[in-house]
Amino acid sequence: MIYKNRYRGLLISNLLLLLLGCTDPVANAPDVPKPLLSTPEYLFGNHVASMDTRAWTGLWDRAQPHFDGLTLTRWALSTDTDWQSLKTYYDTQLPEKDGWAWDSRFSHAQAGYAWSFARSRHGEIVIVVGLKPAHQEGGKVPVNIITNLKPSS
């Protein structure tokens, strides 16, 4: 019995070590990609704001049952910048080798006015959602980042 307990203890400690070895290599969210602009105040008028809200709340409501501790930050993107470059950036920052994958549940591929993409792994997620350039105001469109990763330092 004593040996059994010792064995069990060894097994648990080995499992703990294994878990520690597999801990999250990305403790914080990646830095916000450079093309995203921070503004002290929301930039957009009623029409764009309404589409923006519809775009992110749809994804938020879909994500919330599956991911704890979601937060949202708002940004602006110049229409000179292709939003696909943001996708490339997150692909690099949240790589497949660390367990990250594209999460197609949070894609706006079918929506006419918005785009989005998401990277997720066990309980962690980053969703980026924005409006298409056709809906710009002053050469910019709204972009939102929904995530439950810790803010980048």
């Binding site: 105040e41 957009f44 008028g45 009623n46 704001a49 809200t53 409501d61 930050t73 105001e137």
Partner: protein, 488 residues
């Protein structure tokens, strides 16, 4: 320096010629007081009192020159350390008198030099007690210009030591709050009748510095011993800072300060956890709540507009935290008054339908119904506050009903639709009253629906909403966002 040396020094001073430079004399006298030797091995209490007396005999320029001179070779730090010494240093009263003397004479930069010197005297706490005492003296005795210069000079040091702990036999104590941030809080609190200077200072503070001032102004002390632990709070200084903020003219800046105050309120209302006893928690929350109310009352429509559209506060946590406190402390009448102002304008004399529909033109040329947005932010904040108090639908409903009844009272009392205002406002007033009454009287409306419906004027003759699609969209947008993101 012993008593003989003091007597010798006194004789020597009498023999000096009247033309001798008083600054040089004072510097020399202070250095003599601080000197030690084999026969005079300690700086005594009399020595540090002599130093304070030496300063008393100097005018403002001479005092500043002496501080500058002493700072050059590090003697100022020695002086501060000796004055702060627990055994031979100045008593608290003596030190307060010395700081008062300095605050009336020195310019802001020199006072900051003195403060920094006292901060070094107790590296563990950052000179917490003395730096605060000097800040208090500046707040009470210095001129407004000196206060502004003093704060500006202390700004780089406001966030470097957010707390410190002291261990003693059988326990420990942790004081939260940076010493310089607390000193700045005292001085900012004293600028209540100088809104232009206060605004200038608030404008210069980063978010981190502003939070440091408010947090230090909570005077949070946590004590732990074998018998248990306690947390004591006193938000007097933070409250004064918020009061000063309520007097400045810039609504955007007020909203930023509101955000910092609201975060402090959320912290104060936190459960500090069993078995910690809390002392002063409710009083501190009330002080902060009153300060936040003053900020909103000073320009309800302006501050709410900024809270709705600023990136820092759009999620509704700041206002929701405040609304929760107001609901928890039975201040629904004040929330009702604020809602009425959002509908009828700060002077309660505008047409609520026109106000709801009013647009502003952004630099991009697009339009935004900001009054509608601010009202949406408000009603969602009140609902979120109610929901965070209780999950019981009926209790939530009671809280929001109480707010809405206050709206009716305010609207009835206000001179809306008087002869100077004209018919539209009078009609709008009836539409608002109809909407509020309808929202309250329908038992099927939960608290969220009640707040939302009560805010939208209804034409009693047709029972139709009296607001166009664009304004409704702006209103609903704020509600949709806040209900998802706020965490009061």
């Amino acid at each position: 320096m012993g008593p003989n040396a003091v007597a010798q020094q006194s004789t020597s001073a009498q023999n000096q010629t009247p033309t001798a430079n008083p600054v040089d004399q004072a510097v020399s006298s202070i250095k003599e007081s601080l000197s030690t030797s084999l026969t005079d091995w300690a700086v005594s209490h009399n020595d540090v009192r002599n130093i304070a007396s030496t300063f008393e005999g100097l005018n403002a320029n001479q005092s500043a020159a002496v501080i500058d001179e002493l700072a050059k070779d590090g003697t100022l730090d020695t002086m501060s350390a000796e004055m702060s010494d627990n055994f031979n240093g100045l008593s608290l009263d003596e030190k307060a008198a010395f700081f008062s003397d300095m605050a009336t004479k020195l310019d802001g930069q020199t006072l900051a030099t003195l403060s920094n010197s006292f901060a070094k005297a107790d590296p563990k706490s950052g000179g917490h007690q003395d730096v605060e005492a000097l800040g208090k003296a500046v707040a009470t005795h210095a001129t407004v210009d000196t206060k502004v210069d003093f704060i500006e000079a202390l700004m780089p040091k406001m966030t470097d030591k957010p707390d410190f702990s002291i261990s003693y036999i059988g326990g420990s104590m942790t004081q939260t709050g940076d010493a310089e941030a607390l000193a700045v809080g005292h001085v900012l609190g004293s600028l209540q009748n100088n809104p232009a200077q206060a605004e200038n200072i608030f404008n210069q503070l980063s978010t981190e510095q502003l939070n440091a001032v408010i947090n230090a102004g909570l005077d949070q002390t946590s004590s732990f011993s074998q018998g248990g632990g306690s947390v004591s709070l006193d938000a007097t200084v933070a409250g004064k800072v918020l009061n000063t903020a309520s007097q400045i003219g810039n609504a955007d800046l007020k909203a930023t300060i509101f955000d910092a105050g609201s975060a402090a309120l959320q912290h104060v209302n936190d459960d500090f956890g069993f078995p910690l006893a809390t002392i002063g928690q409710n009083a501190a929350a009330d002080t902060l709540g009153d300060g936040l109310t003053r900020i909103i009352d000073s320009d309800t429509t302006g501050v709410m507009r900024e809270l709705s559209y600023n990136q820092q506060t759009f999620d509704g946590t700041a206002f929701g935290t405040y609304a929760k406190h107001m609901l928890n402390t039975d201040q629904t009448d004040k929330l009702g008054e604020q809602m009425a102002k959002l509908q009828f304008g700060n002077n309660l004399n505008e047409d609520p339908v026109s106000r709801f529909e009013q647009t502003v033109s952004l630099s991009t040329g697009s339009l935004r119904n900001e009054n509608a947005g601010a009202l949406g932010h408000f009603v969602a904040g009140v609902y979120n506050g109610a929901a965070s108090i209780s999950s019981d639908v009926k209790q939530q409903q009671e809280l929001t009903t109480s707010v809405l009844k206050s709206v009716l009272t305010i609207v009835d009392k206000a001179k809306i639709g008087g002869p100077l205002v004209g018919g539209a406002a009078s009609v709008g007033k009836e539409w608002v009253k109809y909407a509020v009454n309808a929202a309250i009287s329908d038992p099927g409306n939960d608290a969220a629906k009640q707040m939302e419906l009560a805010a939208i004027p209804i034409d009693p003759s047709t029972n139709e909403i009296g607001i166009g699609d664009a304004a409704m969209s702006a209103f609903n947008d704020r509600i949709t966002q806040t209900q998802r993101l706020a965490n009061p």
